[in-house]
């Protein structure tokens, strides 16, 4: 799956979970940029991503993310 495709799918997940009108994630987007993205919704996002892509992240992987780019790196790694 192309990186852009992953971003498209993530945008959909973010819109759905965070109840947003629109979402344009980039590599640098972080929780500071989206008001609705707090620690509670973060976990819901992870669960939704794991469900969509049908794999599980390790706790350490999740704790390492600092922005969407790093999240996408992990997803790419898993999809290889």
């Amino acid at each position: 799956m192309e990186r852009q495709e992953i971003f498209d799918q993530l945008n959909e997940i973010f819109i759905d979970v965070l109840d947003l009108d629109e979402c344009n994630l980039t590599d640098e987007t972080s929780a500071n940029d989206i008001e609705e993205w707090d620690s509670l919704s973060h976990i819901q996002l992870i669960v939704a991503i794991e469900k969509k892509f049908k794999f599980k992240f390790s706790s350490l992987e999740i704790m390492k993310w600092n922005n969407v780019g790093e999240m996408v790196n992990s997803i790419e790694e898993k999809l290889k």
Partner: protein, 481 residues
């Protein structure tokens, strides 16, 4: 040696002169000088604990390098070493802070079965600042394991981060990724830093001696002898105690941050006008932030991740554990556990209703409406105040009795002139300033664009400190934690 004492400022003068004059060209020399000063400062408070601080610093320095070495090639070993670091940090904290309490609780339990355990005299002296520096050590190994930072190869730099004297006794709890890189370059005498540091120290001093120490006269007189006071006095005392606590701890934090800034070092913020929060979830994001963000990053989020498939119940469990840990961090007493549990339950209710509330607020654009905002601020303050009744009580039954006494027997209150004449007007000034800060970010009083207003603010605050403050050097509440 407290920040609001002459001896501290003598010490600071002796430290800062060579720091900015002789050593200004070499950051390594500045770091070493800061380290020596920090150990001297710590030794002044408790010299017997210096070996413990030094040894644990060496161990964690080594662990940091080892974790980094194994992160890529041997992730299992890196994980084990990280676990070792966490167990060691928590173990030291547990031994000094909680073991005596558990031994006594077991002794009581045995005694209730008619057995004499002979353990009631067991006591361990707690090293001062241990709750703060062990948290710095733990975050260091965790951040390296998460590959958020590189371990420092410079031992002096690491030891300076752990023992840094403005924050070692009571925080703010700094993070290695923010603090250590600042030690990589020399710090010069900088007018803006010194001006801002001075402003924060003066404001902190005002909070401590004009508000906290003034209110202490009233709150301790009433709450330590609550059975002799009527409900009106108790009500006034518990309301004032919330302000006392805030002024005491944020006053300390302002001074610690200000002193660090004088030395050209930025440390974490600890408070962000918590009493203007609109619910207690927001309150916990604005109160003792260096502790709550630490617990969020290293306890709450990992728990949440672990429990993520339990749906919202996983989150509720994580919230509850999180708050109980925050409570228990303050010390070995069931009151702190109950304090945490009380806030945990409120936060679970807030989390469970979050979505619906947000939608409702959006639909009617309530967020900025005064009739929605101010009652919520008041309710949050009252909920926090109830929590602090539990927090302050020396045992659970005392906290229940104080709450019970608030339900009957109102009459004329006990009057303490200095608390009422100085403390209460100064609280109003504090509230006024906080509202101004909240709405018009920091451009008045001490931060006005006009120099004359800035200078006048400083002079007025200093006059308040010297004429109206309690200068007997009361200890800070948070030193006991």
């Amino acid at each position: 040696m407290v920040v609001n004492s002459i001896i501290f400022w003598l010490f600071f003068a002796v430290v800062s002169l060579p720091y900015f004059v002789l050593l200004r060209k070499s950051y390594k020399a500045q770091n070493l000088w800061l380290l020596l000063a920090s150990y001297f400062f710590y030794g002044w408070a408790d010299w017997k604990m210096i070996p413990l601080l030094a040894i644990i610093t060496i161990v964690f320095y080594w662990l940091g390098l080892q974790i980094k070495k194994n992160n890529k090639d041997n992730p299992k070993r890196a994980s084990h070493l990280t676990t070792l670091g966490v167990v060691l940090g928590v173990g030291v904290l547990f031994y000094f802070k909680y073991l005596g309490f558990f031994v006594q609780e077991f002794a009581h339990l045995f005694e209730s079965f008619g057995l004499n355990a002979h353990l009631s005299t067991f006591s361990i002296i707690m090293p001062i600042g241990i709750s703060f520096f062990t948290f710095k050590l733990i975050s260091y190994v965790l951040e390296i394991h998460r590959e958020n930072i590189q371990p420092t190869k410079d031992f002096i730099q690491f030891a300076t981060f752990i023992a840094f004297f403005p924050t070692i006794l009571s925080g703010p709890i700094d993070r290695p990724g923010e603090f250590i890189p600042q030690l990589n370059k020399s710090r010069q005498f900088d007018y803006d830093n010194v001006a801002e540091g001075t402003r924060r120290i003066i404001w902190g001093l005002f909070l401590k001696v004009c508000i906290a120490d003034r209110l202490f006269g009233y709150t301790s007189a009433v709450l330590d002898n609550y059975s002799h006071h009527n409900a009106t006095s108790i009500l006034i005392a518990v309301l004032l105690y919330s302000f006392e606590m805030y002024a005491d701890f944020s006053g300390y934090s302002e001074m610690a941050i200000g002193v660090s800034q004088l030395l050209g070092l930025k440390v974490r913020e600890n408070f962000h006008r918590p009493f203007l929060s609109q619910n207690t979830s927001e309150y916990w994001r604005r109160w003792h932030m260096s502790l709550t963000t630490w617990i969020t990053d290293y306890i709450y989020m990992p728990l949440n991740v672990r429990f993520r498939n339990l749906g919202q119940y996983g989150m509720y469990i994580a919230i509850f554990i999180n708050l109980v840990v925050i409570g228990a961090w303050h010390g070995a007493n069931w009151t702190y556990v109950l304090f945490g549990a009380y806030h945990g339950i409120i936060l679970i209710i807030i989390a469970a209703t979050e979505r619906k509330r947000r939608k409702f607020e959006k639909k009617y654009s309530l967020k900025k409406k005064a009739y929605y905002k101010y009652p919520r601020i008041l309710i949050t303050f009252l909920l926090v105040t109830v929590g602090l009744i539990i927090f302050r009580a020396s045992n659970l039954s005392e906290s229940f009795e104080i709450m019970q006494r608030l339900t009957y027997g109102y009459g004329l209150p006990f009057v303490n002139k200095t608390a009422f004449v100085f403390g209460i007007p100064f609280i109003l000034l504090l509230i006024f300033k906080e509202f101004k800060d909240e709405n018009k970010y920091n451009i008045h009083f001490l931060h006005s664009k006009r120099l004359s207003i800035r200078i006048a603010s400083i002079i007025i605050l200093l006059i308040c400190v010297f004429l109206c403050g309690n200068l007997d050097g009361g200890q800070f509440i948070y030193f006991q934690f």
